[in-house]
Amino acid sequence: MSRLTVPKTYKLYIGGKFPRSESGRTYEVVSAKGAFLANAAKASRKDARDAVVAARGALGGWAGATAYNRGQVLYRIAELMEGRRAQFVDEIQQTEGVSASVAGAQVDEAIDRWVWYAGWADKFAQVVGNANPVAGPYFNISVPEPTGVVAIVAPQDSGLLGFVSAVAPALVAGNTVVVVASERFPLSAISLSEVLATSDVPGGVVNILTGSPAEIAPWLASHADVNALDLVGAGALEWIDLQIAAADTLKRVLTPENGQDAAAPSLDRIAFFTETKTVWHTKSLI
Amino acid sequence: MTIETTPPVRTLAPAARAVEVLGGDFTEASLRRYLNGIPGVDAVGLEQRAAGLGTRSIKTTSKAWALDKIIELIDLTTLEGADTPGKVRSLVAKALTPDPSDLSAPRPAAVCVYGDMVPYAVEALGASHAGRSGGAPGSVNVAAVATAFPSGRASLAVKLADTADAVAAGADEIDMVIDRGAFLSGRYGLVFDEIVAVKEACRRADGSYAHLKVILETGELNTYDNVRRASWLSILAGGDFIKTSTGKVSPAATLPVTLLMLEVVRDWHKLTGEEIGVKPAGGIRSSKDAIKYLVTVAETVGEHWLQPHLFRFGASSLLNDVLLQRQKLTTGHYSGADYVTID
């Protein structure tokens, strides 16, 4: 007689905690073959609202941490992902219907991308910032600062790799994020939230909503307390409307990308979620 | 019609120290220039120095000495709206017998209560009240907060009456608050005058004075430069002690801010030969933290300052943590909450 399993409940990840949707709704996550896998929480606009509040609350601490500290925290997440590799591989196999080796390659790539981004934390400012040789007795320096709360619609075709590729770059500079996971493949995102909850990432830095991006994204796009909007995974939505809604508060917006190379790793992706601050200071000996 | 654009020059209330340092005809303007002329504080450097002092490793015999010393320097405090005579009696009983399982534990320096609770504290202390016994060994002072503690937002008349009542009821020490609103809006003269007046209200019929501690409320002053200026101002105006906080505002006492105040007291001593006390209050809960303060005092202004007339901890739960540590040193094993008394 084979052992009965203890199936996991997949909830939202907001403010470092795992609440169900305040609406009480769930939706079925099925395997590639259509078999029932789990009931994932179906986030409502109020969950999105709460997530933004949590993200804003966590911003001061995360942005105020040293770059070295952020790099350390992000690297630690990669360590924990590596430790849970088998779990991630298994979930991807089940939900995406791919072989163990394809799933394994996806997980390996996701971890390696995370490490790549972690390594930027204490050095990207040296590449995108600089002293400016102005024509006067002034010390003048330009530095990148995090833009604030970033709302992300994660790539919808990939459970883990797309998610990681969209979330990691926003975190590097000190932003906090609210991310809407892939609707069909949400389990990896929630497993990643378990990694986040057991790492040194402060609660509220990453908030993960599962459910319908079509329902949730407009609330994030129009939210006045969200500073930037990454629509990388919104290709199948009415994303132009989202961009128009975001224009009300002049959010910084990234448009959708499709295919294998969606959200490919780049320094630009980090820099996009920063604001450049330029400071002048007089210089005088007398 | 003419509009007076410059405020009239004010001569401030007589205060011997200020007269000596600033001259007999000092004004609010000259006071402000003096305070602004004191060298600034680099916060990063100050905090680093405090952190460095916090790495001292105080073990074995040094630790045992430190634990007892901490107790001797505690103003055991209850400052709640819900305080009653019964609560105050319980506090006093704790002060007289900190550890029923170990009668060798020393007594704290004082109990600290609201002014209207002073009579109950005095009565409960009985023969152990320092005021009555003349400071005999084992006697405990009664310190009272006054001047519309903690906010200080009341008229001068009310604040002086508050002070006088507490003194008349038998308080040995008065912990007053400065007017932070006045300080932050630059009215140093008003802050100064109030301290002088409160000191005068500490005068007893027999001509002696209750000891005056001046609470700066460093958490509201916000910058180290402000704390430095307020410290100098309070000493010039006649305070016997400068105290960090009421404990009702966060941040309360911190090691860097206390270090800064000790530096002022050190410099005052160098300038005039006079010894002023320092009291960090609020937020010091563990023996480990309290030991850092002892180290900071000893290495900044000297071991001599580790005496009740020159240094106090304003604390309530600290005492029990120290007793637990003390018990571990005696028994060799870790103790627990059941083995210390609540007050």
Binding site: V115, W116, D122, L267 | P39, G40, V41, D42, V44, G45
Partner: protein, 502 residues
């Protein structure tokens, strides 16, 4: 009992697991050296710690050959991402073994455990963490789209921050794709050998890092070896000159980090208590064995008396003694030789007419010790104002105006570092502009960070260590050669994203 005479608070040596004898670390293994072995001792007690091998010419040759093989066959073919992962592993291992490394460092070098625990070892880990992240981002180093490693790097490091200097050398070299042969100082080989064990634990391919212990001869053999592409040296200016002469006419790239005689400039509006801390930290931290030490105090004449007075008071709570006691501030002088030099120069200072004052410290019987010393009324013409003493000895000079401070600060063949203390931002920035020094600290001193470039002007050397600039020493701009992947990337690429701009 005086409270200030704190009870002993010894850090336990039990955490150490030292061998009685150490070989050289070549090609991933410990092998006996063919030179005459020597002892490494604790400078605090003069006790023997272990026997150390000496690498003779043949050993150095074997080490360089191993580094070359590892470079050609493995390291230059490895992706930057993988090189980075090895460096991350090393960083983690350093963190895991941090206490052990700190104790070993204090034992072998003489510096207080408080320093090795709180400053040296954490910086070592940080250095490896920082450069680990660069390994797969070299196209952003400012050296073109595909910079290449140089090949085999010969690295010779000093005794004042043994493990930290090792990190400063090895981390960027490896991140950039080079392999290394490193020679630690003869009086402080221990933590380099423990590091070799960490390298083994990290699974680093054999030959990527080689450690050859020995004295001056070994260093010369290494630097002069014909199959070395890069030489990196930290140490005295005298030896730096020797090396510069030796590589002349060869293709070897050279960086030098040499001596200094830094000016710590205190203006009359300085935050005075923090300035005093900065002066103390500047010259007495690490017993003054710091190339960037603030060994000349340039104090504005109007506040000279007050500052010197406060300084002397501050020194009264400095504790000199057992490096392994957690409350020790001033440890042992690293060697008899160095102690002799400090004494000699101090005697010269006295003879020159400066006013000598020494802190009142109880000096232990065994070991090498020198109490913190201040020379007041020093002039620019005094030898103790010009020559690097490399000990806990401060020379005090005065100035009247910012211009004079700058002139005096720059009046030296050295140019490594300087300090500026003032409450006025515009003055700090203008003075910083004019100081000919590679590292300038304002209202602080002796702050190090792997993200911050460090290096000197003039006879303090050339090249920078730390930061993005620190990579330049180990790379050459250019297109990737076929068959190598130094600077090339795998799937974690940096293809520029077209399109969406802010």
């Amino acid at each position: 009992m005086s409270f200030l005479e704190y009870a002993p608070a010894p850090e336990s040596r039990a955490i150490l697991n030292l061998r009685d004898q150490y070989g050289l670390f070549i090609d991933g293994e410990f092998v006996d050296g063919n030179g005459t072995p020597f002892q490494t001792i604790s400078p605090a007690t003069e006790e023997r710690i272990a026997t150390i091998s000496t690498a003779n010419t043949a050993d150095v040759d074997a080490a360089v050959a191993a580094a070359r093989r590892a470079y050609e066959r493995t390291w230059s073919r490895m992706s930057g991402s993988d090189r980075g992962k090895y460096l991350f592993r090393i960083a983690r291992l350093v963190q895991e073994r941090a206490r052990e490394l700190a104790v070993a460092e204090s034992l072998d070098n003489g510096k207080p455990i408080k320093e090795s625990r709180d400053v040296d070892v954490p910086l070592v880990a940080a250095w490896f963490f920082y450069y680990a992240g660069w390994a797969d981002k070299l196209d952003h180093a400012g050296l073109g789209p595909a910079p290449r490693a140089l090949g085999v790097a010969a690295q010779v490091i000093p005794w004042n921050f043994p493990l930290l200097m090792l990190a400063w050398k090895i981390a960027p070299a490896l991140a950039a794709g080079n392999t290394v042969v490193l020679k630690p100082a003869e009086t402080t080989p221990l933590t380099a050998l423990l590091f070799a064990e960490i390298v083994q634990q990290a699974g680093l391919p054999a030959g990527v890092v080689n450690i050859v212990t020995g004295a001056g001869e070994t260093g010369r053999d290494l630097v002069n070896h014909p199959d070395v592409n890069k030489v990196a040296f930290t140490g005295s200016t005298a030896v730096g000159r020797e090396i510069a002469r030796a590589v002349a006419g060869t293709d070897k790239k050279l960086t030098l980090e040499l001596g200094g005689k830094a000016a710590n400039i205190v203006f009359d509006d300085a935050p005075i208590d923090q300035a005093v801390e900065g002066i103390v930290n500047g010259i007495f931290f690490n017993q003054g064995h710091v190339c960037c030490a603030g060994s000349r105090l340039l104090v504005q004449e109007s506040i000279h008396d007050e500052v010197v007075d406060r300084l002397k008071n501050r020194l009264s709570t400095l504790r000199l003694g057992d490096p392994l006691d957690k409350n020790t501030d001033i440890g042992a002088i690293n060697s008899a030789e160095q102690l002799h030099r400090i004494r000699e120069l101090s005697d010269i200072g006295e003879a020159e007419g400066a006013d000598r004052w020494t802190a009142d410290c109880a000096i232990p019987e065994n070991g090498f010790w020198f109490a913190p010393t201040i020379f007041d009324n020093v002039s620019t013409s005094h030898r103790i104002a010009r020559e690097e003493i490399f000990g806990p000895v401060l020379s005090v000079l005065t100035f009247r105006t910012p211009a004079e401070a700058i002139a005096k600060a720059n009046n030296t063949p050295y140019g490594l570092s300087a300090g500026i203390w003032s409450d006025k931002g515009s003055r700090i920035l203008a003075v910083a502009d004019k100081l000919r020094a590679g590292v300038i600290w304002a209202n602080t001193f002796n702050r190090f960070d792997p993200a911050s470039p460090f290096g000197g002007y003039k006879e303090s050397g050339y090249g920078r260590e730390g930061g993005r600039h620190g990579l330049a020493a180990y790379l050459t701009p250019g297109r990737a050669l076929p068959g190598t992947s130094a600077g090339a990337l795998t799937s974690a690429s940096t293809t520029t994203r077209k399109g969406a701009k802010k």
